[in-house]
Symmetry: C2
């Protein structure tokens, strides 16, 4: 109904799929997203253009899948659930909420300052802002799982009595992540570890249990 024809996924070439991901990520990091073309990806991957058009609706969709594949493989290679990277994992719970959050936010700051992560992420975020469908996939597959880690850590802190049980964990988590993304997106001020720490301290003050 929606598509006039559906390709047979069971006969899909895994070799081509991976080659397209590699080529896409390489071209974006080398020449930038804007100058990366589908024809260029196809040529670099040694693949026919139709093979890309058959499986993806847009250049951004290719890059998103390439990014997800990269994250999945990174997670897998990292063994189990060692935290830190963008594939990331659960937020540590040492019992010191402030320290745990600072650890994670500092890691996020480092990622945002790393061009290898920064450039493709900017391309995807920008496309997602304008294209609701792609943005939904981006949010669902990459952003929201990340946010849930914060939610669970904050709920654990509530259970431990470190955070006001009446506080909304969702708002709390957005208070941590929103300002960081804001500085990153609009480049208003530099992203430093000191900023991450100050942010955590200020937010936590508002989350303290009431007497």
């Amino acid at each position: 109904m929606s598509d006039t024809k559906a390709p047979d996924a069971s006969r899909r070439s895994e070799r081509s799929r991976r080659a397209i991901f590699d080529a896409a990520l390489a071209l974006v990091s080398e020449t930038g997203y804007a100058r990366t073309t589908i024809e260029g990806i196809a040529a670099r991957a040694g693949v026919g253009k139709q093979t890309i058009y058959r499986w993806w609706p847009s250049k951004a969709a290719v890059l998103l899948d390439a990014f997800l594949d990269l994250a999945a493989r990174a997670n897998e290679a990292a063994g189990l659930d060692a935290p830190g990277g963008e594939g990331a994992g659960e937020i540590p719970n040492t019992g010191d909420l402030a320290a745990d959050l600072k650890y994670v936010l500092r890691a996020t700051v480092d990622e945002m300052n790393d061009p290898a992560f920064d450039l493709p992420t900017r391309a995807l975020a920008a496309e997602g802002i304008v294209d609701p469908e792609l943005g939904a996939r981006f949010t669902e597959a990459l952003l929201e799982p990340q946010l849930q880690y914060y939610a669970r850590r904050i709920e654990a802190a509530q259970a431990a009595g470190d955070v006001d049980p009446d506080a909304d964990p969702r708002i709390a988590l957005e208070l941590l992540v929103g300002p960081l993304h804001h500085r990153w997106a609009h480049r208003t001020l530099p992203l430093t570890h000191g900023y991450a720490d100050a942010l955590v301290d200020q937010v936590l003050r508002g989350l303290a249990p009431r007497p």
Copy 2:
């Protein structure tokens, strides 16, 4: 040195400049930013392509200037001076900080839910995320003046003893604006007046003066 040739701005046609702004804004709101082309703007404005390429480096730069021009004229029409935000002005100071902030954040929520504001802003924000030079102009001319309104209102609250004098107004303001932009950009959850209110309440709890 930077440009091989600099056009003579004193001989510039004001009529063409305005026609280009009008055409750009009309086309973006009618057909969307992605489908808006420089050739289309030129044709709609009754202007040669070269006239656009002579004065602007990119489609996004045209739209940014058109947006700024629109804001400037709106401000002018709104009465006095007070340069800065698109329609905005100084944040009211009724003595009730929470109420004042909720008023402004609710207005921001309304703007973000208004397609006439939402669509072109998304286009500019997306372009600014990817293009540092355009992003800097966007931030400098539109975003930062807006943020300064918050800074001044928060500093006034500090002077009045409603906010901890040790709190950093910059971080405080990002705590208000960051989460809002985050929801807007990534469409994670709906933007409502209730959310704006909850945000203000939570942030203000962390800003209360200490005993």
